[in-house]
């Protein structure tokens, strides 16, 4: 157990509404990541953080923003959800940037 929780675990929302997903860790790891997982695409990096208030874009960052005001929390926000953002979202943590990543249980998001 890597001490990672994600909330909510499931969410249904409508197109155009804002959505925030939360990742919480108890390990005090410096690096945190948000991925989305879609059939045929595997895991794709959305954004990652290398410390409080330090974040950077990943492969598929358009339409997403993140914030990290505390070491233990990393928030992913969809400012105006679209149906193409229907996916399963995973948070991960690692000790170092290229170190082993440990994943949370995921959030299943459906945008109608």
């Amino acid at each position: 157990d890597a001490g990672i929780t994600q909330s909510p675990r499931h969410k249904v929302t409508e197109t155009g509404t804002p959505v925030t997903l939360r990742c919480h860790q108890t390990e005090n790891h410096r690096y945190m990541y948000w991925y989305r997982q879609d059939p045929g695409h595997g895991l794709r990096l959305i954004h990652y953080s290398y410390g409080v208030k330090d974040t950077d874009k990943g492969e598929v960052s358009d339409g997403y923003s993140v914030s990290r005001s505390k070491t233990e929390d990393f928030l992913l926000t969809l400012e105006s959800a679209t149906s193409s953002q229907t996916s399963v979202y995973f948070c991960a943590i690692s000790v170092g940037y290229r170190e082993t990543q440990y994943f949370g249980p995921g959030t299943r998001l459906l945008v109608l």
Binding site: G40, G42, Y102, F103, P105, G106
Partner: protein, 112 residues
Amino acid sequence: TQLLEQSPQFLSIQEGENLTVYCNSSSVFSSLQWYRQEPGEGPVLLVTVVTGGEVKKLKRLTFQFGDARKDSSLHITAAQPGDTGLYLCAGEGETSYDKVIFGPGTSLSVIP
């Protein structure tokens, strides 16, 4: 752009059979990881291989990193229903600027 391909995409076998899944790329990786993901959960790291030609064994699972560090294979001996899941490979690029990329996965179903 680095890409990882996995084959086969789907595999359904009887309990007791042997199987091999593959992870291939045209890029060189400094290390490669294999994860297993069960339905409704996040990926869990199985092994990391870092040296070209390296072979690692984890009970009935044998992992091999290609000599050129562009490909890897996972061999399962005498598959059991508990081996059912999505197997993902992930590669770390050679430079410190390279992010970890994931393959699309092989979905394995072992029928009792």
